[in-house]
């Protein structure tokens, strides 16, 4: 869906190129997370896709078409855009904010109003209560929901999200991530998602592209990246607890075997393996009974090679 090839961007006055021969492909319906330390070029890469920044050389293809040959305004109207600061228009109602792109595309008012209500409901905001309010009357989390709704308004196939949940407190951030993933399962957009938070990347990404100094260091599924970091930089970036982080990608039910152990604590079957392990450690127990049947023992984390779950090959032996 999106294909970047030999992309180079050198900002005037900078000693090193911001983007240095970057190749990256994002499949349709996939969330690709761009991550890396600040200054790695992740936001620059994203902003070149909708031509807010023009590359010096290289190509950017969107659905097989070279974006540099498209009208920039036309191109952007076909791409959803969400930024960390949300950038809602403070002088417009929530409805007018969400209806911005449909309005630019010349939809009639009835169609826009219907679409606005549909989107507010989609992002979990009662349309009757919110459509005539103004951004400043909303909480940060609500504003970000409106930002997502606004990006989805004209049903673009591609979504660009620049740290969309970065300014939200951790509890609401987790909730927004869950809601976003729920919406994504329904809509299957092709998403480029910029973040600097590795936990967020692991949670939302179908694939993670780790950048450093404008170069792609590793492009892999979260499970793969955690199991087989390409080099010491990736290993350091994903953190020393990568084995634990990896457990958050699996459900306890995936590790369970039949049976029941008397006296062991009970846990919902759909909690992550990481949370399951934490529960065991917290309770001082060696096993968990899963609600609805099955049991997970501490030895299941060891005996079964959890590192090979998720389709990644078994890791090479490390000295």
């Amino acid at each position: 869906m999106i294909r970047l090839a030999a992309l180079v961007k050198h900002f005037a006055g900078a000693t090193h190129p911001a983007i240095d021969h970057l190749d990256l492909a994002v499949a349709a319906g996939e969330i690709c997370v761009l991550i890396g330390p600040s200054g790695c070029g992740k936001t620059t890469t994203m902003r070149m896709i909708n031509r807010l920044i023009e590359p010096d050389s290289g190509t950017i293809e969107l659905g097989g078409r070279d974006v540099t040959h498209m009208d920039a305004v036309e191109l952007r109207r076909g791409i959803g855009y969400v930024i960390q600061q949300v950038g809602l228009f403070p002088h417009m109602t929530i409805a007018a904010n969400i209806g911005t792109v449909p309005h630019l595309l010349g939809w009639d008012d009835v169609r826009i109003a219907r679409r606005v209500d549909e989107l507010l409901d989609l992002v979990g905001m009662a349309h009757a209560a919110f459509r005539d309010r103004y951004p400043r009357e909303l909480s940060g989390g609500q504003r970000q929901r409106v930002g997502v709704a606004r990006a989805l308004a004209a049903d673009p196939p591609v979504l660009l999200m620049d740290e969309p949940f970065g300014a939200i407190d951790p509890i609401n951030r987790a909730r927004l991530q869950d809601e976003f993933l729920r919406i994504q399962r329904k809509l299957r957009k092709t998403v480029v998602f910029v973040t600097h938070d590795i936990d967020e990347a692991i949670k939302v990404g179908d694939r993670i592209a780790l950048l450093r100094d404008g170069r792609l260091v590793q492009h892999a599924t979260p499970a793969e990246m955690l199991a087989h970091p390409a080099d010491a930089f990736v290993e350091d970036f994903v953190g020393a607890d990568r084995a634990l982080k990896r457990l958050s990608l699996f459900r306890c039910s995936e590790l369970a075997r039949p049976g029941r152990i008397e006296g062991a604590p009970e846990a919902p079957a759909d909690i992550t393996a990481r949370d399951g392990l934490a529960l065991m450690l917290g309770a001082g127990a060696r096993a968990l009974n899963l609600t609805g049947g099955g049991v997970v023992g501490i030895e299941d984390f060891l005996a079964r090679d959890t590192r090979s779950l998720g389709g990644a090959p078994a890791p090479p032996a490390r000295p």
Partner: protein, 212 residues
Amino acid sequence: MLIDAWRYILAHPDRFGDALWRHVTLSAAALAIAATIAIPLGIWLAGQARLALVVINATNLGRTLPSLAVLALTMPFLGTGFVPSLFALTLLALPPILINTYTAIRQVDPDVIDAARGMGMTQREITRRVVVPLAVPVIAAGVRIASIQVISGAVLAAYIGGGGLGDFITAGIAMMQLPLLLVGAVPATLLAIGADFLMGRVQRSLRPRGIA
């Protein structure tokens, strides 16, 4: 003394009416011309960082000139009467409107503009639908400041034959007649206060809903 002034107005309704009308039209025309020039210029300058620096600094310098000096400086070039007065008053009204417009446009949240551009608004649509509506309260404040300056400055137009309420003041001073001076001074003051009040209302009504 105020009663004497009131008696004078009653005795010369035409003369007073003409002067008042002259004062109002002179001020309103100067304000209208200045706004027509300064608002578009300010919007345009906001996108020209280097040129703006020069223009805004020059304007600020111009702002320090006393009103009477501006009026006096136009006389050698344009002579006396309505037109030179109008010209001088327009010059007086330009700086506050220009500076407020420029500042208002510049202080619009860049993230809001980035979002607008990223969603596919053209530069023109960004200016018209986002930037200008958000800048309107501060621009209106500039017009408000200018209106007070112009109404008080118009009193001085009498010195270069522009007419208006200043005629009574200069005459009152020349003849040492305090009541005659008040015939000019009190209505001119009330006019300035009234304009300030009116422009305050306009400013509030122009402020888009949703902006605190």
